[in-house]
């Protein structure tokens, strides 16, 4: 402890780091406490830390009475699960194929994937919307999930990981033993790639749960809303009446993501750090 504070620089360093921790945590604390408060307590010249009426669940009850929020939660669970499963499986298949097989067309595919990585979805939002509308996919689960089902990011991530960590000798040995390619993928390659696939699934789930722009244009009816779109409607300044209730909805909406993050923060931060130097 003594050595820690031996130099004034160290004190500054730890002050800044703990300030960062405080700043990244404070809005969450404000949100949770605020979900138990009335408008008068939230917008006040004499703010108090704890809610005056204690921790009763009035705002949460009001939310479910006012809005089909359970249905929205269900929609988000369905959409995020399908997207996560699909991205994980397709990234494994395509990423491994690109990393470990010589086949005509491999070069052009790799170039296409990198190019896709570079062009953000927003620039084709309008034509994608028009296409999905003409196919009758607006307001459907299919319409919500399809644009997220395959990602160049996931493929690229698995490809890089497979290049580094799947030894060719192992694959050759399995082939000599007569294992089918699918069997090799399932019993040898998938277990080796498991850490990367877990990270990819976690990142995909979080992104899909938080995704906002596409669900906003892809659904019209409030009972097809995902949680993010519902939150945006609830928080619309033209009809916001009860800040506490909106904060209650926000609290519920972050629980799945924060639970995932609490359990797997190490995998998630590591994935971000490993992806950094290479992705895109």
């Amino acid at each position: 402890m003594k050595a820690l504070f031996a130099r004034p620089g160290n004190v500054v360093l730890f002050f800044v780091l703990w300030l960062m921790v405080f700043l990244s945590l404070a809005p969450f604390v404000f949100m949770v406490l605020g979900s138990f408060k009335t408008n008068h307590e939230l917008i006040s010249l004499t703010p108090s830390l704890l809610p005056q009426n204690g921790f009763n669940l009035d705002k949460y009850a009001a939310l479910f009475a006012y809005w089909p929020f359970l249905r929205n939660l269900f929609n988000s669970v369905v959409v995020s699960s399908i997207v996560t499963l699909s991205v994980t499986v397709t990234s494994l298949l395509v990423g491994y194929s690109l990393a470990k097989f010589e086949f005509p067309g491999r070069g052009i595919l790799t170039v296409i994937i990198i190019a896709t990585l570079m062009v953000p979805f927003e620039t084709r939002l309008v034509p994608t919307y028009v296409l999905f509308r003409s196919l009758g996919l607006i307001n459907t689960y299919a319409g919500l999930v399809i644009p997220g089902m395959v990602t160049a990011f996931g493929i690229f991530m698995v490809r890089q990981f497979a290049l580094d960590s799947v030894p060719d000798e192992l694959l050759e040995a399995a082939r000599l033993d007569g294992a089918s390619e699918f069997r090799i993928l399932r019993s040898i390659v998938a277990p080796i790639l498991a850490p990367a696939l877990v990270s990819l699934a976690l990142l995909t789930f979080i992104n899909s749960w938080n995704d906002f722009l596409w669900p906003l244009v892809a659904v019209v009816n409030s009972d097809m809303f995902t949680v993010s779109v519902a939150l945006r409607s609830l928080a619309d300044p033209s009809n916001i009446t009860d800040y506490g209730m909106v904060l209650a909805a926000a609290v519920i909406s972050v629980i799945p993501v924060l639970a995932v993050f609490a359990l797997f923060s190490r995998q998630i931060t590591t994935a971000v750090m490993q992806g950094s130097g290479r992705e895109s």
């Binding site: 960062m20 917008i43 086949f103 620039t123 309008v126 395959v150 945006r232 923060s265 190490r266 931060t269």
Partner: protein, 315 residues
């Protein structure tokens, strides 16, 4: 599956049988790896239908005037001419630039400093601090915007109340043209700086410890070391952070949509959000497609820049 496999085994890779003319080899190669085409097919189908087709269709749409319901009318380059003459196009382009200037330098600096602090030898719980860097980033923009909306209310919001305690008069964070962009910048800095700090941290961990030890032996202090070793060694990572955060900001619609609704009077509407308003509030789809195309060109150039940086970094 088994029969297919045994046949494949007989034309084993690089065995004499598969050598021959190059065409025969190509054919053998394709047959041996037939399953690969099945495995990559989801991407190919997806790319053609969900990426390429709408992109090209969007290019075409930029030459039409269309409200989404009545038949489209071909107008040639009129949408692009209109864009050049549209004061709101220039206002929102300017907003985008101001946001970039408010955010990117501050973010790059903060991310590097935070990363260097966590990387310093006296910090033992590196993962603990990294997790708190990442925490704001895994939270939905909508949620962040809701919290900030309540915090930044002009009369009685917590931020202004606290500022009042130290004698600073109330700031009209969300309802004034001067501050709306600043509020957006604060939200975005809070939300995404930690992510880039992690990328910086990964870069810092690549710098060999010996370099620092040598500098220490030569009597360089921490500040001197930071400027003469850390920054030069991190040049590519810093460039990467600058370009990627620029791309993210240009493509970001959500922040403005939920925090300020782009207002007051378009003061916090970035160009991408302007495109969105044209398309989905005013049903001016052809014009929106033209703006998208302009943004597409801009983003492609920026991304190509990133890729070049990465390539150079890899060497």
């Amino acid at each position: 599956m088994t029969t297919a496999l045994s046949r494949r085994d007989r034309v084993a890779p690089d065995s004499g049988a598969s050598r021959g003319t190059s065409r025969a080899r190509l054919w053998a190669n394709m047959r041996r790896n037939g399953h690969v085409y099945l495995w990559v097919s989801p991407f190919i189908i997806f790319f053609l239908c969900v990426d390429l087709y709408p992109t090209l269709w969007g290019f075409g749409l930029s030459l039409f005037k269309w409200d989404g319901f009545t038949p489209p009318v071909f107008v040639g380059a009129a949408n692009f001419v209109r864009m050049m003459r549209d004061p709101l196009f220039w206002t929102t382009t300017w907003n985008t630039l101001v946001l970039l200037l408010l955010i990117v330098p501050a973010r790059t600096f903060l991310a590097l400093v935070l990363a260097a602090m966590i990387n310093s030898a006296i910090v033992r719980r590196k993962h603990f601090f990294s997790a708190f860097l990442m925490l704001p980033n895994v939270t939905a923009t909508v949620v962040v915007a809701i919290i900030f909306n309540v915090l930044l209310v002009t009369n009685g919001g917590l931020v202004n109340t606290v500022l009042g305690w130290v004698g600073i008069p109330a700031v009209s964070w969300l309802d004034s043209t001067e501050w709306s962009k600043v509020s957006l910048a604060i939200l975005n800095l809070w939300k995404a700086t930690g992510y880039f700090a992690l990328i910086m941290l990964a870069g810092l961990q690549q710098i060999p410890k010996v370099t620092y030890e040598a500098a220490q032996l030569d009597g360089a202090g921490p500040i001197r070391t930071f400027f003469s070793i850390t920054i030069p060694q991190m040049r590519n990572v810093i460039l990467f952070v600058v370009i990627v955060s620029t791309i993210w900001l240009v493509q970001n619609i959500a922040d403005a949509m939920v925090l300020t609704q782009g207002g007051p009077s378009y003061s916090s509407t970035p160009l991408m959000y302007f495109m969105f308003i044209k398309a989905f509030s005013q049903f001016d789809l052809g014009y929106a497609a033209a703006i998208s195309l302009a943004l597409f060109v801009l983003m492609t150039l920026l991304s190509a820049g990133t890729f070049a940086v990465n390539r150079r970094g890899a060497k």
